[in-house]
Symmetry: C2
Subunit: 746 residues, 2 copies
């Protein structure tokens, strides 16, 4: 269910144009001879990949709606199962039983001062072959909304994130007992009804403003790729920052006979009704609002003066759902490792879509299938992976990572023991490689990107991305792209199936794809179709092939490396940067609080305010204390030393004895486990990782060093101090593992 590209993009080595680049550079974890063999193998792998296969799979798998529980969803799983088997994999379907609500009743109507009933319909288009299959399509709705039947005055709340409610408070506007209308954007959608409910709203409507998602961006579908006035964004509003996966089985597998919560007691199900609408349906509601003119930054691209309300617009919102449990079909395909069968390299993408899901998720899923076929061909020619390779196509990702999360929760012990890394993709488009992941794999990923050629520009995908950063990046990013040999990868929050692997179990993970030259407004609508994809996205599937080349290299190198390609200097450097950011944010907050309180004491806010507009004297801000960052600084110094020791010691480590290599590799791939803590994060113990987490109020967006950062953002100074201690201990323990690896190599 990925949508926007992460802001931090990836990478590359130095400028570099050799014809067969890999030969001229080493590959992490292989000795010289091994590198040569590996390059040959990867070249052979590439030769197997065929764009027409991607195209055929996408056409086949997007022929009908294939959400979890749909007949064609099962067909898609079985189609993939058959393919994996035909490629020589040991394949099966693992079934979980997950709650999946679908709508029975959807009503949004303006009842005052005029009447208008929202259509809530995405019409079929003659230019889009599948769009007319209205009987099979899920209507536009939010999975895990509450049932509800409410009528109240409407308030426009901008993006509906906490700072918007602060602005409303300054305007003297309270949403208690009201229905709020929020724009999509600036947070994951599930944050909007959660924050609305926290502020006392009784209903929430989310619309796609054409400024962010519609005609302002470009010509609308079917003339262009962007959202037309009828398109609406389905999606989950499950409170995933608390825990993802089946809401009825928190922390354990949703097996057939698992003990289940009543859906009314499930903490991750929204407490108020919420529904997505198109901008065509939103326009009459916004037009009917009175009250203050919305702040300039709140206004969208509709041809109206945006007002905040409340009222005179009054809205009736009625939603009823079928609360059914459905089977989720996770397709699991394995190639047994020849030397380390109990070390698993896992590669996955989901296969369920909200409707046709050509882009999301099939553009990534078809690369998975083609990679598997290419691996099968390598097998036929005699190659065997040293480690076990597990290919997975997850079901029920869209409603809340249900398939992957339940699969992981059910196999927690085994995965903690065996999983070397998890490699995820989701949607894939045209443009630049983006990458998020464990920073211990940053150097590894830089090498992979160095060795794959961009299909449009005939340089490595790394060099193309570096050019983009140098031309369009922030001043800081530009400077780094000149001075740092590796481009940075982003940190992972949530939003796709890597979440349970990295956040719950501490399995090193990566999330990769291409994008940035494939804008559009099809996301989670019936127009995310084969026709749309092949007109506007990766039209010749050349970036699908590029994704398979990148992912194939990742899988092959991780499966066959003599020494697993984890590396700790980049990790140490990046965590150091996160710590610096956090310290600066505390200083900024302190200065802002002091300045605010001074202005308040001097009555400057009132003097500056327009007397003809409502004014509320702001509250004083609590003074920001000085925090003791010394333990964190000490831990970072320890980590840096360990990382440097490892870099020195690991040179030539491929020559260790078989026994030591096995021990070393186990330390390496389990090192990420030491970045978790069994108690997890405050008030959300499912999230155990202490370096990366999705933000409690951003939803997908990552918060690094989350316990410290979120405590500071919420002015919880006691918890911030506790977070510093927790992270410091975590990093020190992690450094201890690195030291253990170092001592093995001495």
């Amino acid at each position: 269910m990925r949508h926007h590209l992460p802001k931090i993009l990836l990478f590359s080595g130095t400028v570099f144009c050799a014809l067969n680049p890999a030969f001229s550079q080493s590959i992490l974890g292989f000795d010289a001879a091994g590198t040569q063999k590996e390059v040959a193998l990867e070249t052979k792998f590439d030769q197997q990949l065929k764009a027409e296969n991607l195209r055929a799979h996408m056409k086949r798998m997007s022929a009908h709606p294939h959400h979890v529980g749909s007949p064609f969803g099962k067909e898609v799983a079985e189609y993939a199962l058959g393919l994996f088997k035909s490629y020589g994999f040991d394949a099966r379907i693992d079934i979980s039983y997950v709650l999946f609500p679908t709508p029975k009743t959807r009503i949004v109507e303006l009842v005052e001062p005029t009447r208008f009933k929202a259509s809530l319909v995405e019409p079929g288009l003659k230019e889009d072959a599948t769009s007319g299959q209205t009987k099979e399509q899920l209507p536009t709705y939010h999975a895990f909304s509450a049932d509800g039947d409410v009528t109240a005055e409407l308030v426009f709340v901008n993006y509906g994130i906490p700072e918007d409610y602060e602005a409303l408070e300054k305007m003297g506007i309270d949403v208690k007992g009201k229905i709020v209308l929020a724009k999509y954007g600036n947070s994951w959608r599930g944050i909007k009804p959660k924050v609305a409910a926290e502020n006392g709203a009784i209903g929430c409507i989310i619309y796609s403003d054409p400024k962010e998602d519609g005609f302002f961006q470009g010509d609308v579908y079917p003339k262009g790729a962007y959202k037309n006035e009828n398109g609406a964004q389905r999606g989950s509003v499950l409170d995933m920052p608390l825990y993802p996966g089946d809401p009825l089985t928190p922390g354990y597998g949703a097996t057939k006979d698992a003990k289940r919560l009543d859906h009314k007691d499930a903490p991750t199900i929204m407490k108020i009704p919420v529904l997505p609408i198109s901008y065509g349906d939103a326009l009459p509601l916004l037009k009917a609002l009175g009250g203050e003119v919305a702040p300039a930054s709140w206004r969208g691209a509709l041809p109206i003066t945006y007002h905040v309300g409340p009222g005179p617009a009054k809205v009736h919102l009625k939603l009823e759902f079928n609360w059914d449990v459905q089977p989720a079909y996770n397709v699991i395909a394995t190639l047994q490792g020849s030397e380390y069968p109990d070390e698993w390299v896992i590669r996955g993408n989901h296969h369920d879509g909200w409707v046709y899901g050509a882009n999301d998720p099939l553009s990534g899923a078809v690369a998975v299938l083609e990679e598997a076929r290419a691996l099968g061909e390598l097998m036929k020619s005699g190659w065997k992976p040293k480690r076990t390779i597990v290919y997975a196509l997850w079901d029920a990702e869209e409603p809340g990572l249900l398939g992957s999360t339940e699969w992981v929760e059910e196999r927690q012990k085994e995965l903690e023991d065996k999983a070397v890394a998890y490699l995820n993709s989701d949607s894939n488009g045209r443009g630049f490689l983006y990458a998020g992941g464990s920073h211990t794999l940053e150097k590894f990923l830089n090498q992979v990107a160095r060795d794959v050629t961009d299909p449009q520009r005939n340089v490595s995908v790394a060099d193309r991305l570096r050019a983009k950063v140098l031309v369009d990046g922030s001043p800081k990013a530009k400077q780094e792209a000149r001075s740092r040999s590796d481009l940075r990868i982003g940190a992972l929050g949530s939003g796709s199936d890597y979440t349970p692997f990295i956040q719950h179990l501490g399995i090193a993970s990566m999330n990769l794809g291409f994008g940035g030259e494939d804008g559009g407004g099809e996301y989670h609508s019936i127009y995310d179709s084969y026709d749309h994809y092949t007109r506007f996205k990766d039209t010749d599937f050349s970036y699908g092939i590029a994704l398979a080349e990148v992912m194939g290299r990742c899988v092959l190198r991780l499966a066959d490396a003599t020494v697993l390609p984890f590396e700790f200097q980049n990790f140490a450097n990046t965590v150091q940067q996160y710590a610096t950011e956090i310290k600066q944010s505390v200083e900024t907050l302190r200065m802002q609080a002091d300045d605010h309180n001074k202005l308040l004491a001097e009555n400057r806010f009132q003097l500056a305010a327009d007397p003809k507009e409502p004014f509320t004297q702001p509250e004083p801000k609590s003074t920001v204390p000085y925090l003791n960052f010394a333990p964190l600084d000490n831990a970072l110094a320890t980590l840096e030393k360990s990382a440097n020791d490892y870099a020195r010691a690991s040179n030539g480590a491929e020559k260790l004895s078989t026994g030591d290599l096995k021990k070393l590799n186990e330390i390496l791939y389990k090192s990420e486990r030491y970045l978790t803590h069994p108690e997890g994060l405050p008030r959300r113990d499912w999230f155990r990782h202490q370096i990366y987490a999705p933000g409690f109020y951003t939803g997908y967006g990552v918060k690094t060093l989350p316990m410290i950062r979120e405590a500071i953002e919420q002015s919880n100074w006691t918890e911030a101090e506790a977070g510093i201690m927790r992270v410091s201990e975590t990093l020190t323990n992690f450094a201890g593992q690195v030291d253990k690896a170092v001592s093995l190599m001495k």
Copy 2:
């Protein structure tokens, strides 16, 4: 014809809340006894001012259209003349004879791919009493457009400023032989057709996008104050950055028998036809454009995808004008000075409007009249000004500062000798004091603002402004508002009648008014009416009174000061800041050029570009040389020393002998003359001031140290070096005058 507030706002002293503030602080140029007398006089002045007079004058003077040459325009001048006489002024009307084109034919029509004819009409509204007087109103047009009849493909050029044409070039789009459609905003309007013609366009249409001027800002007229879909902005497109005033009599007075250029030879008249239209008329034109989607920053608030073209939209633009010479009636009213009759303090505002001109210019003009009445009352009670006070209401400002410029040009010698300062206002609204002016008057103005009470918040207008800067200013402005006792005033470019005084003759000038809480879209439309003003602007005329209080103090203090209140430390400090800005801009340009050329050599632009979009390899940038700023630094050091010497020496200067005082004051008020140079600026010798000038490509917007700054902006390094020499000499000569003043006081 002022429109937007300058970005740099004014000022105040320290926080300060005494009931009668002036008593507790000294007044520049008066000794203790003089200060006490002056405060009493100002208190009496304030007591005369009555809001109902402002209201009655505005209602009367906005009853009909009163542009130059209109019957009611003459009535307005005669009405003012009568008032001045009745107040005890020696009053007369000085007539100039100026070119004032009015339209005979106006046609804008889309001829391909569909047909649409622009209405070009602002309809009357029942909520606006004068709006229906269609026979007397000037239609929407641009004064000093060329005659023309052209048909060509349309290109959307954003704001139509030079950087927009650079962006078009990168897209591979040439406007040669095309008609361009530009948005209002980001430059003075006359720049748009000038730059269009420089780029080879054969016609220009300028529309008001609702993003900057319409429903995006707020509810539209008559529901709210903002521009409705029919409103269009009249205005002059005379090439005023070359020279303002009558285009047929450059540099000399437009007397009845003056030698006149043929209008076809006048260099300031536009070379292509240009017309303003409403966003209602612009929508079908924009909709008909194809080609590339416009860059995100170019898109406005109309409900369309903005495309650049060229075509398929093809437009027919036909314009014909009456090229008539009209009498401009400048109303001049004098109170003879008792001690220094040949030292003139001049206070002015224009009286002509584009149509009813309630805000622009009557909101300022009615304050002028009420100030004059109050001065008359003071005269009746026995007070006489030491210096001569000249009150002026200018005609023909709107078409290009014609009235004031011709009046000044005709009296150049006398004004150079006698003018102490010129005090201008134009439109006046509700909110914060804004001020631009000669920086030698900055401290003076800070004291005046300290002593006038804000009508809404009951603190000084200075303190209210300081609160605004502290709450909403940039970080730099906030910091200065804490650390610097005087708030900075803006530098003057052009856009109102101060221009000939300061820019041509070097008469110290100020431009003052209130605003920031009185948004609207009435500017230069038929809806700038009494009804609009009294609903949405300074509805109770309390800021009209505040303006009279500010201006009255300026006039009284300048007229009666023992030592004229010029001050040089703030001036030196601010010019130092301009020099620093310029040096930094050279460094930035150098870094940008180097970075650009490096990226080009590495082929990064092409690698970063989307292959599916047009791409032109950018040109290399010429290397930025190191400039010799040493002469400027030396001049600034000299100036700083002189300013410091003056500050020390002037303490107690009120005690000098009458003869020395006369000499001192003459040096002081003539010091600004030394900031001009007889050769003026390169390629525009009318503009003689070397510290302030309107930008050649901004129109109204000021460029400080213009010869240096504009040469750098245009990569003319030889001229930049010459500019450094010129400004250095100018500042050194100026410092010499300050030294002369110092030696008088020793």
